[in-house]
């Protein structure tokens, strides 16, 4: 195995779980998240030298992941009768406990436009700053601020509850 391949494998092992969590919140389905991460990492593998030369390889791969998610989201939007879509994987409505709120939050997240959803996931799951988020999304910090603000407004009902996703 070449040194480059070894470095790629080390990168995958260190970053795959985090990318998987990001992918899930982007698409709302664990199986699709598996595939999204594999595809993003496959593309990173294909262009590994370019990834390594990037200022932030992690940001580069997250950008691939988000672009791939957006591409599939658009394809699915065009092809699918949304009413036929399955419920988000692994989250079922159960009036007896907190899972109801989780399902609602995930559904609300999926209802956001792709860029707002990506902004929320990068900022509040991955913990990126506005500047780092702007780098991943290839936009200005001002755009990140406005996208965040709009998304938070749409998700506002989850903050106003006494018990949030508990």
């Amino acid at each position: 195995m070449s040194r480059s391949e070894e470095e790629f494998r080390a990168f995958v092992i260190s970053r795959a779980a985090s990318l998987h969590r990001t992918a899930y919140l982007l698409c709302g389905d664990w199986h699709l998240a598996d595939d999204l991460v594999q595809e993003a990492l496959a593309k990173a593998f294909r262009h590994w030298k370019r990834v390594q030369r990037a200022d932030s390889p992690d940001a580069y791969v997250r950008r691939i992941l988000i672009n791939e998610s957006n591409r599939r989201w658009r394809a699915r939007r065009d092809l699918v009768l949304r009413a036929e879509e399955a419920e988000p994987d692994g989250v079922t409505s159960d009036p007896a406990d907190e899972v109801v709120d989780r399902a609602e939050l995930l559904e609300a997240l999926q209802s956001l436009p792709p860029r707002q959803r990506a902004t929320i996931v990068l900022r509040y799951l991955d913990g990126l700053s506005e500047r780092e988020t702007a780098v991943v999304l290839e936009c200005s910090e001002g755009t990140v601020k406005s996208q965040t603000s709009r998304a938070l407004t749409r998700l506002n009902r989850f903050f106003t509850r006494e018990e949030l996703v508990r």
Binding site: M1, S2, E5, F8, R9, V12, I13, A16, A17, H20, R21, Y24, L25, W30, H31, L32, D34, D35, V37, Q38, E39, L41, A42, K43, A44, F45, R46, H47, K49, R50, R72, A75, R76, L79, V80, L81, E84, E85, G90, V91, R102, L105, L106, I120, V121, R123, Y124, L125, G127, L152, L155, N156, F158, F159, L164, V165
Partner: protein
């Protein structure tokens, strides 16, 4: 600094995902990475067969499109509508097996050039260039180049396109920088199984060769048309067989097996063609009359079964993307020394 509401949202998002384990499948990722070359070339014209097939099988409105294969009760079985006896692919496979058209040398060199159409004009941008060497002893060298940015394609001699990746390949051979070829082992094994006669088992093995994509168990048995009007299993067999033919071009047993497998696909049409003065067979999937707006075609040498050209597009010429292959047998030492 997060506000109180932002902190609560962050906490909630973490709770949504924290319990889910994930182990990356490095082998599958690297296999898919090596496939990205051709798929990336065609991305703009054709959705990737992998997830697209899964998604289409799961999500396309039932009954919208009918195909020859739509009536099969079990898509894993060999369709009765295939030309397994007397068809040109089976005939060529038999010739390859009988004569073991094994050229001299101890390795197979494959040079590929991808082109992607720019906009609606008859202009192409240069895609990936690849030079791969598969030795008969099982060693694999891969020198692939990313597409140069914004570089338009203008016709040049083959020597121009060969130069850079071939030089890189020679440098890798000199430095013994090998690449794992294990990622194609499943496809090769399926093809060899098909060459020896176990077609049903070989179909299943070829369909499942890229396990990372086949994540939807129910789709394996789906008869709903997906990519190019093929049922998912047939689409996987088509794509993986293409891959096996490319990577196993130097192995007559693999070529014969791939041709036999492709002969089991009821929606693949085969025509006798001539490509640059060479006798070829053109295999094509995609049925515009059935509502499938995209197609793929694979041109193979009519005598050797080696790949000549792959293309994809909306159904009208010229194609959106092409990959041209130059396959030849070489002796490793002579090639490394620049003598062949």
């Amino acid at each position: 600094m997060m506000t109180h509401d932002e902190a609560r949202l962050s906490e909630a998002l973490h709770e949504l995902v924290d319990a889910q384990p994930f182990e990356p499948d490095l082998r599958t990722i690297e296999r898919r990475g090596r496939r990205v070359r051709r798929r990336a070339t065609a991305t703009r014209s054709v959705a990737g067969l992998g997830l697209a097939a899964v998604a289409a099988a799961a999500l396309v409105v039932s009954g919208a499109i009918s195909t020859n294969s739509g009536t099969r009760a079990n898509p894993l079985t060999i369709p009765t509508t295939t030309a397994l006896h007397g068809g040109p692919l089976v005939g060529l496979a038999a010739d390859i097996t009988a004569h073991q058209l094994h050229q001299p040398g101890n390795a197979t060199l494959i040079i590929s050039l991808g082109l992607t159409r720019v906009g609606t004009h008859l202009r192409y941008s240069e895609g990936d260039r690849g030079a791969e060497l598969f030795t008969d002893a099982g060693t694999y060298y891969d020198a692939s180049l990313d597409p140069p940015s914004d570089k338009s394609y203008t016709p040049r001699s083959d020597a121009y396109y060969d130069a850079h990746p071939v030089s890189l390949l020679r440098a890798e051979i000199a430095a013994h920088v090998t690449t794992s070829n294990a990622q194609f082992a499943d496809e090769e094994a399926a093809a060899i199984k098909a060459a020896k006669g176990s077609l049903s088992a070989a179909r299943r093995q070829m369909a499942e060769a890229l396990r990372g994509v086949v994540t939807c168990g129910a789709c394996v048995l789906s008869t709903k048309p997906g990519s190019f009007g093929l049922v998912p299993v047939d689409a996987w067999i088509w794509e993986n067989s293409e891959q096996a033919l490319e990577k196993g071009a130097g192995n007559p047993e693999v070529r014969a097996g791939v041709l036999r497998l492709m002969a089991t696909l009821p929606d693949v049409t085969v025509t006798h063609t001539t490509t640059a003065g060479r006798s070829t067979l053109t295999l094509r999937v995609g049925r515009p009359e059935a509502g499938m707006s995209h197609y793929q075609s694979l041109v193979i040498d009519a005598h050797m079964g080696t790949p000549v050209k792959w293309s994809a597009g909306p159904g009208t010429d010229p194609p959106e993307a092409t990959v041209t292959y130059h396959v030849r047998r070489v002796t490793v030492s002579a090639f490394a020394a620049g003598k062949s």
